[in-house]
Amino acid sequence: MQNVWGIAAFVTAVKILLIPTYHSTDFEVHRNWLAVTNSLPLSKWYYEATSEWTLDYPPFFAWFEFLLSHIAKYVDPQIVVIKNLNYASHATVLFQRFSVIITDFVYIYAVKEFCEKCLRPVKRSPEGDVFSNSVLSLAVLMIGNFGLLIVDHIHFQYNGFLFGILMLSVVRIYEGRNLEAALLFATLLNFKHIFLYVAPAYFVYLLRSHCFQNAKDGSILWTSFSPLRLFKLGTVVFMVCGMSFGPFIAMGQLPQVISRLFPFKRGLCHAYWAPNFWALYNVVDKAAHITGTKLNLFPSTNSSQSAVMTGGLVQEFNHAVLPSVKPIATLVATGLSIVPALFLLWRGCYGPKSFVRCLTLCAFGSFMFGWHVHEKAILLIIIPMSLLALEKKRDGQLFLFLATTGHFSLFPLLFTIAETPIKIILMLVYTIFAFTSLGEIFGLPRRGLCLPLLSIPESLYILGLIPVQLYCSVGHSLLRLDEKLPFIPLMLTSAYCALGVTYSWLRFYWLTWKDICVEKSKKRE
């Protein structure tokens, strides 16, 4: 594969191969939204509740489904009938799968733009294959991202297209076209509001670098503030949001829409704990509870309740030993974890790369401490981080560590037997490629058992994923614990990955801080 389009064609072929694989309830969610937007007037979109999978994405996404539905009805008129719950004819599957594959080209285009215009690799040479050429390697790492492949093309979602808009807006920031970047990001927010998590980075960066100017030593020039630019930015964002929410405000439906978008009825953690701080918190609680019960420190009434924590139900529950966590607490924790990143960006804004770092840190913070975080949200960290992976060795090294851990934590998403070989092999292909390619590009000799670029403890941690997976898929049932302690494999995966993600988060913070120190001293000289 000698160019980005070749890589895109290769990955697209793999996506087409994945069409007959299992799809989750999200498939029906999106089918239902096609039906809702096609058969009902705008005023009823956010009230319709025939299916349990009600519309809970912002209006632009609804419009997107509306557009798709007008093609869908020619493919199979039954797709757009609301009452056809769980309808999945062959034509429906093909239509929905191909809609993901085709809209992914937004992402592919954005990656191509980034690789060709924004990447400043260690050595820029047109020569070399996908392993040794930075541009091609990054294109493979991003377009062929394992997480996107299994979440979008097996599990079924439209993340590729949404990340495409995000990446395109990052490219515009690299190009200095800040207004366009703001426009794209505002649009993205109105497609899927989970991107609100990274909005602070946009806000601070655009305010700092679009409305203010830098002094020669890189510090802020307060006098350079331009109200006109701020006004323009504000207008762009408000216009987009007005287009999206305006009709619903006019119809007086805003509270209903908002209540659909932010369902705080759900629990602290998803059925399968995303590998974040709260997963560790839960594990500590559980461990304390078990030891406590053994030592007869508490009455045993709580035990039945805490045993169902990972039973697959999305619900609120109380911790047995540690204090229970309220949504507001997670909000505060998330805020606190993001503030230093924003502060660093404000103090040391050295161009788009600082912005990407802050973006990643915001995603990290919300993933670590957010309320009801999905394991899929790890992609919001991995994808922006891969933008940095090819430029500096330390970033590349952390990317390898986090991507491997994070992708592994997605494994429980696919649990059917037929898909197990696929997820394991695709993960291996991606990981082996990433390690080999970055190893070649940064030109490091391999040392003993260490993986390329990683230190000994890091290598041991990554290799430790293999026994964890072996235990979860084989060992646990061999020990005949699957009836007594059914939650152990999920808990083990989640806790093990949480350690890695937490380490990556702290290290990334430290690297960012060091980066700014280095840049500052450079500017002073």
Binding site: M1, N3, I16, I19, F131, I422
Partner: protein, 516 residues
């Protein structure tokens, strides 16, 4: 060679195997031949039925019609090795779930778990036979200079869509018989003639279709014996003969209890009672039937004689050429030529049989990428009607796109490089009119295939001609195949007797050096 593989290329080889595996597994999630089509189902049920028969009956009853073994319902009609393989798989199936191979009651068994089991047996067969054979071939071939090219050659061979779609989609075990043949080629090219003859005898005993390759093996070994310098020719021939006969003897042992039993097996293997060709095949007879209705003009016996005669006559040029110049390069080309002649002219040809020619072409892909790649694409296309029937359209598109991308961007098309956009493997050479013409024909031929494929999927044929598109596709492919057969013959005839030639060149060069 091994050490250089272990250095940096091991990881890339691992990647190649992983990609080849995941592609096969994804294809196997699609439907198989005859899925949900009672009462006869398809090849999938045939293979499962053989497991049922071999597990439950003693070997001497396998090939005989009886109350327990209704030969009308997918009776065993492959040679003994297939039967043993079925028995082995059947025993594993019985261990997992006896209902899968219960006599009578298991007919048409088809549930997701059973499908997973059947699909994984094919994958295991690939791991045990096809993959190692291809690896060995590319490790020992002297045509590849760099490890990187070796990796690409292996990848292209593993990702050839034809065999993936037929074995893992439609459901067959071609990987075993073709893998054994590749192994035989490896043995012959490393001068292990006895092992080579044994490997090919095993291939023949797995699938009688391997007879398509028998003539080149015979001619090459015969020619080699006759021109042997160190050894008495008769001695060498006798050794090979003994190896072949004893391999056959061992494979057939359970059926040699009586002449009747052995003849019954033979009778099952060569059912001349069937038609001239199955469905629509892109061979000569099927295409000729558009103009001349041979089947109405001649009796079946006459047709058999006609086919046999034509095949033998067409087989002669490449065989005689090989017999007179038994070099390994000519031998590989003769494998292609002989199987193409059988495919085009013999009696009772299946569309799947093109694989027997396609795998030897896969082995030549790195030598002349352009024509081989073209042939391999058309060979996959020629099976399109069958793949449509099996519900494998999406898998065909995916594997085709995958193969096309990998090949066009990684193969060294030499003088044709500039006609492949995005290919930067070798320096683009000056365009000239002949090359431009050929490259244009290539792209037009591909365009034609795509148009035909799309038309067959979207348009409804007129009522008078319900088979319009399958017939058009086979005629279109047949024209290609005839030209390709001529081309490969020409290649074989103009092939330098490489070993002696290269030795001459080396010595000539050395002399030049000495002089200067």
């Amino acid at each position: 060679m091994m050490s250089s593989l272990l250095d940096g290329h091991l990881t890339k080889i691992v990647l190649v195997v992983l990609v080849a595996t995941v592609v096969r597994w994804c294809v196997s999630l699609n439907s198989h031949s005859g899925q949900g089509k009672p009462p006869m189902f398809g090849d999938y049920e045939a293979q499962r039925h053989w497991m049922e028969i071999t597990v439950n009956l003693p070997p001497k009853e396998w090939y005989f019609n009886s109350s327990a073994n209704d030969l009308q319902y997918w009776g065993l009609d492959y040679p003994p090795l297939t039967a043993y393989h079925s028995w082995l798989c059947g025993m594993i199936a019985k261990f997992i779930n006896p209902e899968w191979v219960a006599l009578y009651s298991s007919r048409g068994v088809d549930n997701p778990t059973h499908k997973l089991f059947m699909r994984s047996t094919v994958l295991v067969a690939d791991f045990l036979v096809f993959f190692p054979a291809v690896f060995a071939y590319f490790l020992y071939t002297d045509k590849i200079k760099f490890d990187k090219d070796r990796t690409i050659a292996i990848l292209c061979c593993f990702l050839y869509p034809g065999i993936i779609l037929i074995d893992h989609g439609h459901f067959q075990y071609n990987g075993i018989s073709l893998g054994l043949t590749v192994l035989a080629v490896v043995f012959l090219s490393t001068d292990h003639d006895l092992l080579g003859s044994m490997a090919f005898s095993l291939a023949l005993n797995y699938k009688q279709m391997e007879l398509y390759h028998a003539m080149p093996f015979f001619c090459y070994l015969m020619g080699k014996c006759l021109t042997a310098e160190k050894e008495n020719w008769f001695f060498k021939l006798a050794k090979i003969g003994i190896v072949v006969i004893s391999t056959f003897f061992l494979c057939w042992l359970p059926f040699l209890t009586s002449a009747e039993s052995a003849l019954q097996v033979l009778h099952r293997l060569f059912p001349f009672a069937r038609g001239l060709y199955e469905d629509k095949v892109s061979n000569f007879w099927c295409t000729l039937s558009l103009v001349v209705k041979l089947r109405q003009m001649m009796s079946r016996e006459d047709l058999v004689v006609l086919c046999g005669g034509t095949t033998l006559a067409a087989l002669l040029p490449s065989s005689i050429n090989l017999l007179r110049n038994p070099t390994i390069d000519r031998f590989k080309l003769a494998l292609v030529n002989s199987s193409m002649v059988f495919f085009l002219f013999s009696f009772q040809v299946h569309e799947k049989s093109i694989l027997i020619a396609a795998i030897p072409v896969c082995l030549l892909l790195h030598e002349r990428p352009f024509p081989c790649f073209w042939f391999l694409l058309i060979s996959t296309f020629s099976m399109f009607p069958l793949l449509v029937m099996d519900g494998l359209v999406v898998a065909t598109i995916a594997t085709g796109l995958l193969y096309f991308t990998i090949a066009t961007s990684n193969l060294d098309f030499g003088p044709y490089t500039s006609y492949f956009p995005g290919n930067r493997i070798s320096v683009p050479q000056e365009r000239n009119d002949v090359r431009l013409l050929i490259a244009t024909m290539f792209w037009l031929s591909l365009l034609g295939s795509v148009v035909l494929a799309v038309a067959s999927l979207t348009l409804t044929p007129p009522k008078k001609l319900p088979d319009l598109f399958p017939v058009l596709i086979s005629a279109y492919s047949c024209c290609h195949f005839v030209l390709f057969t001529l081309y490969f013959h020409w290649w074989q005839f103009t092939c330098s007797s490489s070993e002696t030639m290269s030795k001459h060149r080396v010595s000539a060069r050395n002399e030049k050096k000495k002089r200067t």
